[in-house]
Subunit: 228 residues, 2 copies
């Protein structure tokens, strides 16, 4: 039987690639997505398509209402910033940052891992393109892993460490796309846009769209994204 | 204006006491409770009463369905163990343990703290009576605090550390009750029972009831708990 891994799956390009890497490493994937008060159901439809594509053992969607706390353009009624070119993306923490989101997502992944007796959690964070997000940095992930090994007893009991895998953390978007392409990921089924149409078309002007476009350009792989 | 603190509030004896200590230290309390698929609404009614008693600035209840993962008598259809005396409580992790619960609860508290710009989180964990729960130990809390300071940017930006306060962590139940009593906590409004009646009466035989009874006995303070 394959070793089990929990994969945080958003339906975006990064988590699809992280999933393909987990599968390539022989893990049976238990994919976890969230209905977290985001504006669009489009993301969860993409996550469901990608879960099928990755041939996961199981896909769960957890309901957590992060609108309760607010503080982000992705959960509140704040406009997602649009730009003409990738160079216009500002430094610092963007308004699309959701407070403590990865901490919360990883905590749910940890709860599931504990009941599954899985020791491996995959998350497609990337510190390069999202240097403004504190919870995408290697230091954060290392501290999270340290904490996770004290939060649960099953790892210690079985003399195994829980590992948070971040295969993409220092890759460029182009490198992520090239690796996923080599592993057969169909990126037409993913969605990265922060502000898609209800039909699932990407806006082409938010930070996430612009970084994705540049990634496809740089990787010389055809961009299958459907734009509005 | 008072400094803000987020308090994890279950409606039990411990979190009520942690709240009274936070208030005594001059914090404006932002109380956070969870509807997490537990069997009884009784716990949330108690949390609401205690929030009023503590005169909190705000009380939020977050919906998170931990039944999705299972693995606990408090979320699944597993019988809560009953005993005649406190000595019969076994060692090791009890079936009432909810996987990664405190990790998840603290992560929501962290998200709220970040939007509130609060640097203090209070949690009434106790390592003495619940030595079987991995996520009640000082090592876990220290690792969580370390991680929290890397997960968010507002602490670093403002040159302030986020602190996880665990005032009760090494106190006996009797010491907790004595301190709360001195601070004016009305324990008749709290509920500790894992298996209360729908009317909110305590069973008197679960681990939590037995530890609470012993605490009142040892502290020489009259037990106001209403038993079934």
């Amino acid at each position: 039987m394959s070793k089990k891994a929990v994969l945080l799956l958003s339906g975006g390009l990064d988590s699809a690639t992280a999933g393909a890497i987990a599968r390539d490493q022989g893990f049976a994937i238990h994919a976890l997505s969230f209905r977290y008060g985001q504006r669009h159901a489009v993301e969860l439809e993409a996550a469901t398509r990608v879960a099928r594509q990755l041939d996961v053992a199981e896909h769960k969607i957890a309901d957590i209402d992060l609108r309760l706390f607010g503080g982000s353009a992705l959960t509140d009624n704040i406009a997602v910033p649009k730009h003409e070119t990738v160079e216009e993306i500002g430094l610092g923490i963007p308004v699309t940052y959701v407070p403590a989101r990865n901490t919360i997502f990883l905590s749910f992944a940890l709860a599931w891992a504990e009941t599954l007796r899985a020791y491996d959690i995959f998350i497609g964070v990337n510190a390069l393109d999202y240097s403004g997000y504190p919870d995408c940095r290697p230091d954060f992930i290392a501290a999270y892993e340290q904490m996770a090994n004290l939060a649960t007893a099953y790892g210690v009991e079985n003399n195994q460490r829980i590992r948070i895998h971040t295969p993409l953390i220092d890759w460029s978007k182009a490198a992520i796309i090239a690796r996923g392409h080599a592993l057969g990921v169909d990126y037409s089924e993913t969605i990265s846009c922060y502000d898609p149409t209800p039909q699932g078309l990407a806006c082409g002007q938010c930070d996430s769209c612009l970084l994705r476009q540049r990634g496809f350009n740089d990787s010389k792989i055809t961009d299958p994204t459907r734009y509005a």
